[in-house]
């Protein structure tokens, strides 16, 4: 009576474990984000949840799937868009300028079976794509002038690279969605330094021009002011030049000989002087 429930319990546990293992290797839950290739003794027999353009979530092949226990293996393949980053490349443009380029490509495995046969695993796909991305980038950019890389023409360059990369990717069951340049920089050292030097001299020149322009404008402002003053004087004084002559002479005498004048002044007057006309007491 003591041993019986224990043995019973052990039996139940063993059966449950076996059932669990059996269920685990029979049923497979395929999520929306993955595709699966069922491989039986090394031979792919079935594809579950393959990518189809424009499919709706919930109506894809994702869900519970049954397979032959123990004989069927599942190879999981990501269904989402993935990225492959290229190592930094030195690119030489046709006008002999060097550029350091970082680029990335986005792809999706659209043919899991082909991918499994050609590459075996997802890592190998990106490993295979990476050097090809690099070389097609070098080829395509090497045909252009440096300035083209900074122009809207860049889009066309990228399309060419995408097309040529896609040709290779298709052999691995992948589809290239786009290729983009992440960075395109002048390499460190001489090219970068000479670009800095060019910028510096350009700014210095700009600074000189600004100063010269300022001086010129200042001169114009002064000249305008002089002209305007002359005009004001002429309009006013021109009404009676003779009186102006007298008026201005009086002012000038006052300044020249007046109490504020510098220096000692001695005046020798002749009695014929107009000022002394009444002096004689006519």
């Amino acid at each position: 009576m003591n041993g019986f429930p224990l043995r019973n319990g052990v039996v139940i546990a063993v059966v449950a474990t076996v059932l669990l293992i059996l269920m685990g290797s029979t049923f497979a839950v395929v999520p929306e984000t993955r595709q699966a290739v069922i491989v039986r003794f090394g031979e792919p027999v079935r594809i579950i949840n393959p990518y189809q353009p424009g499919e709706k979530f919930g109506q894809t092949g994702a869900g519970l799937h049954i397979r032959m226990p123990f004989t069927d293996q599942i190879v999981w393949i990501d269904k989402r868009i993935q990225s492959v980053e290229m190592d930094r490349q030195q690119v030489l443009s046709t006008d002999q300028l060097r550029l350091q380029v970082d680029a990335f490509a986005r792809y999706r495995i659209t043919d899991p079976l082909r991918m499994y046969i050609a590459a075996g695993s997802e890592e190998r796909v990106s490993e295979a794509l990476r050097p090809i991305l690099g070389s097609s980038l070098r080829n395509e950019l090497g045909k252009r002038q440096f300035a083209a890389l900074l122009s809207p023409e860049r889009g066309a360059v990228m399309d060419n690279i995408r097309i040529s990369l896609n040709r290779v990717a298709r052999q691995y069951g992948a589809q290239i969605i786009d290729v983009r340049i992440k960075r395109a920089d002048l390499p460190d050292g001489t090219p970068l330094q000479s670009a800095f030097e060019r910028m510096r001299t350009a700014r210095e020149q700009q600074a000189l021009t600004i100063r010269a322009q300022g001086a010129k404008q200042a001169q114009l402002i002064r000249a305008d002011a002089d002209a305007k003053a002359a005009e004001i004087y002429a309009t006013s004084f021109g009404k009676d030049p003779a009186f102006y002559d007298f008026y201005r002479a009086m002012q000038a005498y006052n300044v020249t000989f007046g109490s504020n004048a510098r220096g000692q002044t001695n005046v020798i007057l002749s009695p014929d002087n107009d000022f002394l006309r009444e002096f004689k007491g006519r």
Binding site: V29, P31, E32, T60, A62, G63, L64, R80, I81, Q82, S83, F104, F146, L150, S151, P152, I177, D178, R180, R183, A184, D185, A195, F196, M199, R200, T201, A202, R203, I210, R211, A218, Q219, I221, R222, D224, A225, K228, A229, I232, Y233, S236, F243, Y247, Y253, N254, F257, G258, S259, Q264, T265, N266, V267, I268, L269, S270, P271, D274, F275, L276
Partner: protein, 291 residues
């Protein structure tokens, strides 16, 4: 077997308790107002839970992934302190840019199922779009007036690319936090603003001169006009009066010598006169003689 029955019921109630707890935690989901719950039934997408209490079958039959769709997330690129982020502009100059991308999730289903590494993707797309746009503008635009335009264009371009990936991401905006010339040429750029200041100083000085001169001219002209108006009324008298007044004013403060003899050449050893003047500080005696 009363003891066995007790134990049986204990196990029974324990099992019920665990099962209830299990049901409660995996089939009742509280979805906050800013959240959506993606329900997958054995891996296959089933439905999206909207805010409120959502009921599902217990795990592992149905699973829920809660995604915050309203939260604006930020990715900083070229953040200050991690070195310069140099970019080539359209006129082949170099600029140091730091900016941030604000984004949220427009479609939680797409976000959950379409893109392998969303954050990294956004960062890469942002960098690529930013460089593409900066490569079309001049350095001066990127440093100053063109910033808003750049932010706008980068946003549009990023949205376009991310839509092509079916990423379910909405780019809310780009903020350029810093747009500077590279440190290596910064001095030359400062020189330009110094030159602008100098030029402005030149202009200001000239303006000041112009205003001064103009005021002086107007004042003098106005004074002349006023005097002239009076002069016109009685020309001869005014003229004489002005003459006498001026002479009086001048001659009253001066040494005067009047030579009366006719026919004598009015020659004086002038050095002698000035020496005498220097020796005698007070001029009252000579003034007296003059009178």
């Amino acid at each position: 077997m009363p003891g066995g029955g007790d134990r049986h019921s204990l196990w029974f109630w324990l099992a019920i308790g665990v099962a209830t707890l299990w049901l409660a935690t995996t089939s009742v989901h509280r979805i906050g107002p800013q959240e959506r719950g993606i329900v997958t039934a054995l891996g296959s997408f089933s439905r999206t839970l909207t805010p409120g209490i959502g009921l599902t079958l217990p795990a592992p039959l149905e699973r829920v992934k809660v995604i915050d769709v309203e939260e604006i997330r930020t990715i900083d690129i070229g953040a200050t302190g991690e070195g310069e982020k140099l970019m080539l502009t359209g006129d082949q100059n170099i600029i140091d840019l730091a900016y941030s991308v604000r984004w949220n999730i427009r479609s939680p289903e797409m976000y959950a199922f379409e893109i392998a590494e969303p954050e990294k993707t956004i960062g890469e797309v942002a960098e690529s779009a930013m460089r593409a746009v900066v490569a079309t503008v001049s350095l001066d635009d990127a440093l100053g007036a063109g910033r808003t335009m750049i932010e706008q264009q980068v946003r549009e371009r990023m949205q376009d690319i991310l839509d092509r990936y079916n990423s379910g991401i909405r780019v809310q905006g780009i903020a350029i936090k810093q747009a500077d010339p590279p440190a290596a040429v910064n001095d030359a750029f400062k020189e330009v603003s110094a030159a602008q200041q100098t030029a402005q100083t030149y202009r200001n000085e000239a303006q000041a001169y112009a205003q001064q001169l103009s005021a002086k001219a107007e004042g003098e002209a106005a004074a002349f006009d006023k005097v002239y108006a009076q002069y016109k009324l009685a020309p001869e008298v005014t003229r004489r009066r002005m003459y006498y007044e001026t002479m009086e004013q001048i001659l009253s403060g001066l040494d005067k010598t009047i030579i009366e003899a006719k026919g004598v050449t009015p020659y004086l050893p002038l050095p002698e006169v000035s020496r005498r003047a220097a020796q005698v500080p007070s001029v009252s005696s000579t003034q007296g003689a003059g009178q």
